[in-house]
Symmetry: C2
Subunit: 156 residues, 2 copies
DNA sequence: GTTTTTAATGAAAATGATTTTCATTTGCTC
DNA sequence: GAGCAAATGAAAATCATTTTCATTAAAAAC
């Protein structure tokens, strides 16, 4: 229920500040990403947007997702199924950093944020040590566990 | 210097055991992977093999690399440059598990095995916790740090 | 509100890594 | 050495993503 006292979406500032325009397509794409907790492909986003705005083309989806990745609003992943997957990087409340479990049989992807405290600590230690040894400025990391999900494990 | 008292390459057993044939192309491809410490693309492998065996086609390179990945002899990575990268998973002496630093500017990839002991420990704890919570049988993991390498950092 | 500027867009074509097809070759068993 | 299935090469197909270019539409200027 959108009240009339709702300000403009939180991400508008990110666009305006850098001279990017706020367009129907961009609003729609962010809306789709905002409503799901899944890891959508460009085509997934296209199909979802298409229901509401049939005139928005797949090219625009690709271009917009790329822009959103550049802006740090969206994460882009490769889970090994031959297409990129996208996921909102943050909400108005803040970033939602997490890692992934990827089922190598059915492709299911599970987010997890638990157990992450220990990880964070180790990661920052590791990052420091690596930075020093290799003179490498670390800005980001990717952690994925592969294996068999609940269902696929059972079926084996 | 290959002495005449050298047995067949260590990986022959892996092939024979499962009914796969040992062919010129496969020998050549493994040889190329064995001689480098880089992360080669299929085309890289093709070019290297081509120098010695100009009749081996790119298709065979793809097929063989895929087979080697299935057999667990080779790791396949995506470092974000639009092509898969391959690397020998083990040597006669054992596995050479390691993680990667990826420069987001020049694409350079650095292997590291230091600092890995702490990681191993955390990983096994994390894996156990995740396995239990999500009923997910973890068989593998991927850890990559992204950032600026020495040189690219300097140029910025 | 209208005009102006130029970023954004859609459709179609291009790209490029990887896969498939199929006729031919080659390792391996007997 | 013969027989046979596995492996191969060349060419075509696939398919996610990118590029091109003429048109549209945000947002700034008036
Ligand atoms: Mn996720
Ligand atoms: Mn490596
Ligand atoms: Zn599964
Ligand atoms: Zn670099």
């Amino acid at each position: 229920m959108m009240g009339k006292h709702m300000g403009p979406p939180w991400w508008h500032g990110r666009f305006r500040g850098r001279g990017y325009r706020i367009t129907v397509a961009r609003e729609a794409i962010l809306d789709v990403l905002n409503r799901t907790s899944e890891h959508l492909s460009a085509e997934d986003v296209y199909l979802a947007v298409h229901k509401v705005h049939p005139n928005v083309g797949l090219t625009t989806i690709y271009r917009t997702l790329e822009l959103l990745v550049q802006l740090g609003l969206v994460f882009k992943f490769d889970f090994g199924d031959g297409r990129a997957r996208y996921e909102l990087a943050e909400t108005p409340k803040g970033t939602r950093h997490h890692h992934h479990l990827v089922c190598t049989v059915c492709g299911r992807v599970i987010d997890y944020t638990d157990f992450i405290d220990d990880e964070i600590e180790l990661l920052s230690r590791t990052e420091q040590a690596l930075s020093k040894k290799f003179n490498f400025k670390i800005t980001n990391h990717l952690i994925q566990f592969y294996g068999l999900c609940n269902e696929c494990h059972r079926k084996q």
